[in-house]
């Protein structure tokens, strides 16, 4: 009896020890998890903070208010440059009239100001013969200085802006003729050699066109492939081979798709280079496996009882699938498609091969126009030496992230909206 009691007690103690150990192990595991998540969140915060802190300045731009005399003679002669020069000289009458001095003065404003003036006149001919105040973009060095990116205490030869210019900026500021304003041209222009004039509209439109091609091609093809594989394909060797290859395709480096596109779409079919149509085709190829895999998973997750019930009522297989299975699989399918699109939106490598990583000034007007895409634009700007492009890079990144966020949000929204209990 006593020995029995003793063993019970000792095994009780052992059990308690075991229990304690188990609880400790559980707490430890949770701690690891929390640490991992905090690390990930920390990196995310650092990344976002650095992008935003550098990028938010990209959304504003230093502008200078000029008083321009829209003289009819000059306009008729097309001498907008002279018009600008006159207006600058009026601001700074004692700037000197030598060629070098005139050029320094002109460098206060963006090199594209002349074109801006012409556009202003063309947009509103009534302005001819009047004297108007016009806000024009400051040049990149002025912009950078005004945003505090250039240290005025440096010796003159070490900074990109001269003492004379600094004095003029001070004068402009005193006159209330210089200010940071919202950078509308960032969203309304294409790329430019001058950072202050560079915009992302061309890239956004290029991305949108390419994605449109992608979604139109890959969504129906992907969903139909998934339906066929799930519901109709005979379960044989060939089907299995296709399935394996689709799964593998999803893991193929995207540059390979670019090479394929280059070889097939450009060289064989002769599609235009740098065009959304060819870029979209390549992105479709890349997105297809993702859409097929997620759609198949979504279709498989639909209880077979729906299709059975419909077939039991005399529906054909196709009817059963289109009436019941696909609607029930819609949230998963759409989510997969949107995630695939989001990935396509962020893709650069395959487009590199299609010539879509390009300097594009004009906003593309169609699927065959030369164009670039958002991430390519980020890449191009990140490569540029001018300081002004650094903040453009960050700003474009914010725009890109914004689009991705919106798309993922849409995916979540659609899933919530269509998700039904069964």
């Amino acid at each position: 009896m006593s020995s029995y009691a003793a063993t019970t007690i000792s095994s009780q103690a052992a059990a308690n020890r075991l229990l304690l150990r188990r609880k400790r192990a559980e707490r430890r595991f949770q701690l690891y998890g929390i640490l991992a998540i905090s690390a990930a969140l920390g990196f995310l915060v650092v990344f976002l903070a650095s992008i935003v802190s550098r990028g938010y300045m990209g959304f504003v731009q230093t502008e200078v208010r000029l008083t321009v005399d829209f003289d009819q003679e000059l306009i008729e002669a097309g001498s907008y440059r002279k018009m600008l020069r006159t207006s600058l000289s009026e601001l700074f009458p004692n700037a000197g009239s030598s060629r070098a001095e005139r050029r320094t003065l002109a460098r206060l404003v963006s090199a594209g100001t002349v074109f801006v003036l012409r556009e202003t006149v063309e947009a509103d001919p009534a302005i001819i013969g009047t004297v108007e105040d016009v806000w024009v973009l400051a040049s990149d060095p002025v912009d950078q200085f005004y945003k505090g990116r250039i240290d005025a205490a440096l010796p003159e030869e070490e900074r990109p802006i001269s003492d004379a210019s600094l004095a003029r900026i001070a004068a402009l500021e005193a006159a209330g003729r210089i200010d940071l304003r919202f950078n509308r041209s960032f969203f309304t222009r294409g790329d430019s050699r001058n950072p202050e004039e560079a915009g992302i509209l061309a890239a956004i439109v290029g991305s949108a066109l390419a994605l449109l091609v992608t979604v139109v091609l890959s969504f129906p093809v992907g969903v139909m492939t998934a339906v066929y594989l799930e519901a109709f394909a005979p379960k044989n060797r060939i089907t299995r081979l296709i399935e394996i290859n689709i799964n593998n395709l999803a893991a193929v480096p995207s540059i390979v798709f670019g090479l394929l596109g280059l070889a097939v779409f450009l060289n064989v079919f002769g599609l235009p280079r740098s065009a959304p149509i060819s870029g979209g085709l390549v992105l479709s190829l890349m997105t297809l496996p993702t859409i097929i895999i997620s759609s198949r998973a979504a279709i498989r997750a639909v209880p077979p009882s729906f299709a059975e019930a419909a077939i039991g009522l005399g529906a054909s297989r196709v009817q059963a699938i289109f009436h019941h299975v696909l609607p029930a699989a819609a949230p998963g399918t759409l989510t997969g498609a949107i995630i695939g699109m989001a990935r396509a939106l962020g893709e650069t490598a395959p487009l590199l091969m299609m010539g879509m990583v390009a300097f594009v000034v004009e906003v593309p007007g169609g699927f065959t126009d030369p164009s670039t895409v958002l991430p390519a634009q980020v890449y191009l700007w990140a490569d540029s030496p001018e300081r002004g492009f650094a903040e453009k890079t960050a700003a474009a990144t914010i725009v890109l992230l914004g689009f991705l966020l919106v798309m993922n949000g849409l995916a979540v929204y659609l899933r919530r909206k269509f998700e039904k209990q069964w």
Binding site: S305, F306, I311, G312, G314, Q319, Q421, W422
Partner: protein, 261 residues
């Protein structure tokens, strides 16, 4: 031995002769001969994997959906072939409805669930006709009073027993002659099961019903004839009362008294 002729009425609703079913190389049913009488409930009982569901699905050709499934032998509905390759399965499935193990209403409204079949077959030219079919079917399934105020709500919002009655309403909306029920109560609680059993008893005045069940008491309660299948063979087919008081075959006896295996 199963004495088919002794049970044969002049006009059985469904006739199976020498029905064998194969899944790939594996034979699932062996030479089954069976007559199903009109307006009776016939229960199929037997251990899992005995082929009773497979046999049930032969009647409305649901086995066609399985790739490597093929069957031999002849099956007749009111004397006309239903097993041949030329049979229009859509027509067949209109005449032989099916209710499944788990209540499986479509994720649509109660109304749309019932209206699906009639719409599919173009049975209701006007909205009024459709309304009538839906109401009649729901009434016949004994669920109208419970759902008449919420036919626009999703069928999935009903309780399990109501869902199963909705599925029965959906099946009878296409006006079949025969109802196949594949363990219709296995996912339901006893009360819901009782309502379904009561419904089956009422429906047998209009429909020929075949029910597969694991619950032998249920087979005893609802059916007039019982077929016991084991290992793909029809072991015994007789009046339910006979099967449950004095079965002829020792293995039937072992099965129903719980001495199996």
């Amino acid at each position: 031995m199963v004495n088919v002729s002794a049970l044969s009425d002049p006009q059985p609703k469904l006739v199976a002769r020498a029905v064998s079913v194969y899944y790939g190389g594996k034979q699932a049913l062996f030479d089954i001969d069976l007559d199903i009488m009109s307006r009776e409930v016939t229960a199929f009982i037997g251990p899992s994997g005995c082929g009773k569901s497979t046999f049930l699905r032969c009647f409305n050709r649901m086995n066609d959906l399985i790739d490597d499934c093929r069957s031999t032998g002849s099956m007749l509905l009111d004397g006309s072939d239903i097993a041949g390759p030329d049979v229009d399965v859509v027509q067949l499935r209109m005449r032989i409805g099916m209710v499944f193990q788990k209540p499986n209403p479509f994720p649509k409204s109660v109304y749309d669930n019932v209206a699906y079949g009639p719409r599919l077959h173009g049975m209701a030219p006007t909205r009024g006709d459709l309304d009538e079919i839906v109401e009649t079917s729901l009434r016949r399934a004994g669920i109208w009073d419970e759902v008449k105020d919420r036919v626009d709500q999703p069928g999935t919002s009903l309780s399990g027993g109501q869902q199963q009655r909705l599925c029965i309403a959906r099946a009878i909306a296409v006006r079949p002659d025969v109802l196949l029920m594949d363990e219709p109560c296995s996912a339901l609680d006893p009360i819901a099961t009782a309502t379904i059993e009561e419904l089956i008893d009422e429906l047998k005045s209009e429909y020929t019903i075949i029910i597969v069940t694991h619950n032998m008491q249920q087979a005893a309660r609802v059916s007039q004839k019982t077929a016991f299948l084991n290992l793909g063979r029809l072991i015994e087919f007789d009046e339910t009362q006979k099967i449950f008081t004095n079965p002829s075959e020792p293995s039937t006896q072992d099965y129903i008294t719980g001495r199996f295996g």
